[in-house]
């Protein structure tokens, strides 16, 4: 019951400073949007063709109608023009090119035959003819299912060797999440130092509630708050930005070891430095370094060898790589392995921090500070 009351108190204190909580949530969401938008062009793996408009005249036959209606799928818009308008445009020089289409042939009238419009017409025409051939072949072979494949379902764009890559939003939806979790170590330090700064540690120590439990409860509360923040960020990213996480539940589960790691790191830093300011400076520097090594700031291909090497030196990198490989390649092994390594490190750091805590509690520091 006392432990629950303590957890409740920690929760109330966190909510009592909504600006801090809001900042911890808004910061990654805003960064994801800013970086996602800024890098969206760089990250595009396909070149969007410009929308091309060309006037055309036709005999109104079936082929001409099909040609015109299907052209929109290829960013080509054929705009019907009357014979009078055609002649007038040619006479005053305002019409530079046009398409003439009958059931027998297609003629592109143009003085710029190597230009973008001419190229678009050639590409689309080839595709149109191939589609017609395919339809004819399918009809002859008795395979009507092949006659009109749906474009959006039939075509998928992948990286080389069939490897999927995240979009800029997908990338920062992961790296900003892990980055803000890393900054959670500062939150842990703040929670631990709060009792000393407010002198309430004196009252806590004079109470029958064991200080070792205070230590454990505060650590637990800090970790729980971090996981809650991560859940909010992931849900917001998914439902507002449309970022895909393959399986949100699994991703959140895999974020837990990182939250545990970050909490343990904060606890250890506080026990070593014993001052909030010093611990915070150290953690800030460490966070920047680990996020950088983990590919948190600059968008890198999953298959970039330098990135792969650097991430080995950063727990953030392990998680980033692991999550990317799970979300975009469907492989669970890297993130599970990252989780195991993080939990192992967390246990070691926490035990060391707890030992330092017990040593401090055995001294006169609590009252003397």
């Amino acid at each position: 019951m006392r432990t629950l009351q303590f957890l409740k108190k920690e929760g109330l204190q966190s909510l009592a400073a909504p600006e801090t909580v809001l900042l911890m949530l808004l910061f990654p969401l805003l960064l994801t949007w800013v970086l996602g938008t800024a890098f969206s062009n760089i990250s595009a793996r396909t070149l969007d063709l410009p929308e091309t408009r060309l006037p055309f005249v036709s005999d109104g036959g079936m082929v001409a109608q099909l040609y015109q209606s299907n052209s929109r799928n290829s960013s080509l818009t054929l705009e019907p023009i009357t014979e009078d308008a055609l002649q007038s445009g040619l006479a005053d020089g305002s019409l530079k090119q046009y398409v003439e289409l009958t059931d027998k042939e297609l003629i592109l009238h143009s003085d710029d035959q190597k230009g973008m419009e001419a190229m678009m017409v050639r590409m689309y025409s080839n595709a149109f003819i191939q589609q017609a051939n395919l339809t004819g072949a399918a009809l002859n072979a008795g395979r009507p299912d092949l006659m009109a494949p749906a474009f959006s379902e039939y075509i998928r764009i992948e990286g080389i060797d069939g490897r999927a890559e995240p979009s800029s939003f997908g990338y920062y939806g992961v790296t900003m999440l892990t980055m803000i979790l890393m900054y959670g170590s500062l939150q842990t330090v703040s929670m631990l130092s709060q009792e000393k700064a407010g002198r309430t540690s004196l009252r806590l120590k004079a109470s029958p509630y064991a200080m070792s439990k205070v230590f454990l409860v505060k650590t637990l509360a800090s970790c729980f708050i971090l996981i809650s923040q991560a859940a909010i960020i992931v849900l917001f990213n998914h439902f507002v930005y449309g970022i895909q996480y393959r399986n949100i539940g699994f991703v959140l589960l895999m974020v837990v070891p990182l939250a545990v790691f970050v909490t343990s790191l904060g606890v250890l830093a506080y026990q070593i430095f014993r001052k909030e300011e010093a611990a915070s400076v150290f953690l800030n520097i460490l966070t920047i370094a680990l996020v950088f090594l983990g590919g948190g700031y600059m968008m890198v291909s999953l298959d970039d060898s330098t990135f792969a090497t650097l991430t080995q030196f950063s727990p953030i990198g392990w998680v980033n790589q692991g999550l990317f490989r799970y979300i975009y390649r469907g492989s669970q092994e890297p993130i599970l392995w990252a989780g195991v390594k993080l939990l192992g490190l967390s246990l070691a750091m926490f035990l060391l921090a707890f030992r330092l805590f017990l040593r401090e509690e055995g001294s006169d520091r609590v009252a003397a500070d």
Binding site: R2, G198, R203, P208, D364, A368
Partner: protein
């Protein structure tokens, strides 16, 4: 209720508490009086389990702190010298949280928390954030947090430091009321007026030692050979000549009142009046003063309480 035997505490080479022994009976207010650095807080910190003693024994309600610290803590309530409350919570949340540390829960916790807030005069501020409180209100809440679990022994470490007279009076009244209800109180202060007003028995501490203890009369009797003459004069008194009067140990000038600390018998009064007369200094009033704890402390240690 509390027995402290031959307590010793060192910080490095500095002896903070030296062979301190005293006993607080159930239902009394016992004062630890001494200047800053006398060893009062160290003594209290040992009693409350905040720091470890080097040697000696502490018994609370018959429980030896060395063996039954946790049990003994249930009997204790502490009001630290520094404000030990959460500024980002409201008053009720503070009191309830500290009450819960002593095993209170549910409706009992709610009831006792509200009663305690009413006792310190903060009922109407129960739902207000502590950061909006004045210094005096925070002090009162600091006391409430130490009281909520109804301890048998309440330890107050300089609870009136830095507050306005109105809040101080409120706190003093509250302490007396608690005592009337049967609570035993250990009170440390460096304000001799507070010790005189509140405490049934007082230990005077200096340099880590108890230099004297007893009730007010017993302490005054330690300096019974001293007596104090207060003379109110008009104009500037002849301080130089007066200081040479035989038997006058010290003269304190406060406004137009001269307070003579004299050793011996009544001869000095005649001599003082003679000097005044020689300098045509008009005497407005004359009285014999009772020795106070400041006098006792000064006589026993050679130092003032607020040095």
């Amino acid at each position: 209720m509390l027995e402290v035997k031959k307590l010793v505490k060192r910080y490095g080479s500095k002896l903070a508490v030296s062979d301190v022994s005293f006993k607080v009976e159930k239902g009394e207010i016992y004062g630890l009086l001494g200047p800053n650095g006398a060893g009062k807080s160290s003594t209290i910190n040992i009693i409350t389990g905040l720091i470890r003693k080097d040697s000696g024994q502490v018994l609370i309600g018959g429980l030896d702190l060395d063996r039954e610290l946790t049990k003994a803590k249930y009997l204790l309530g502490i009001v630290p010298q520094d404000l030990a409350i959460y500024n980002d919570l409201n008053a009720l949340q503070n009191v309830k949280f500290f009450g819960s540390l002593y095993g209170l829960s549910g409706s009992a916790l709610q009831k006792q928390a509200l009663e305690t807030l009413a006792f310190v005069g903060l009922s109407d501020k129960a739902k207000d954030k502590v950061k909006t409180f004045s210094g005096g209100m925070k002090r009162r809440l600091n006391i409430a947090c130490g009281l909520v679990h109804r301890p048998q022994l309440l330890i107050l470490d300089e609870p009136t430091v830095g507050i306005d007279p109105q809040s101080r009076n409120h706190i003093m009244e509250a302490i007396l009321q608690l005592n009337r209800e049967g609570m035993t109180i250990l009170y440390t202060t460096h304000y001799m007026e507070e010790a005189e007003q509140l405490c049934s028995r007082i230990a005077i501490m200096d340099a880590g030692q108890i230099v004297a203890q007893g009730n007010l009369q017993e302490l005054r009797s330690l300096i019974e050979e001293n007596w104090y003459i207060v003379v109110k004069v008009k104009g500037t008194p002849p301080m130089e000549e007066l200081s040479h009067v035989a038997g006058v140990e010290k003269i304190d000038l406060n406004g137009n009142a001269l307070r003579f600390t004299c050793r011996g018998k009544h001869a000095q009064l005649r001599d003082i009046l003679e000097v005044q007369g020689q300098h045509h200094s008009e005497i407005l009033d004359l009285s014999i003063d009772e020795p106070n704890l400041e006098d006792v402390f000064l006589t026993l240690t050679g130092k003032r309480l607020r040095d």
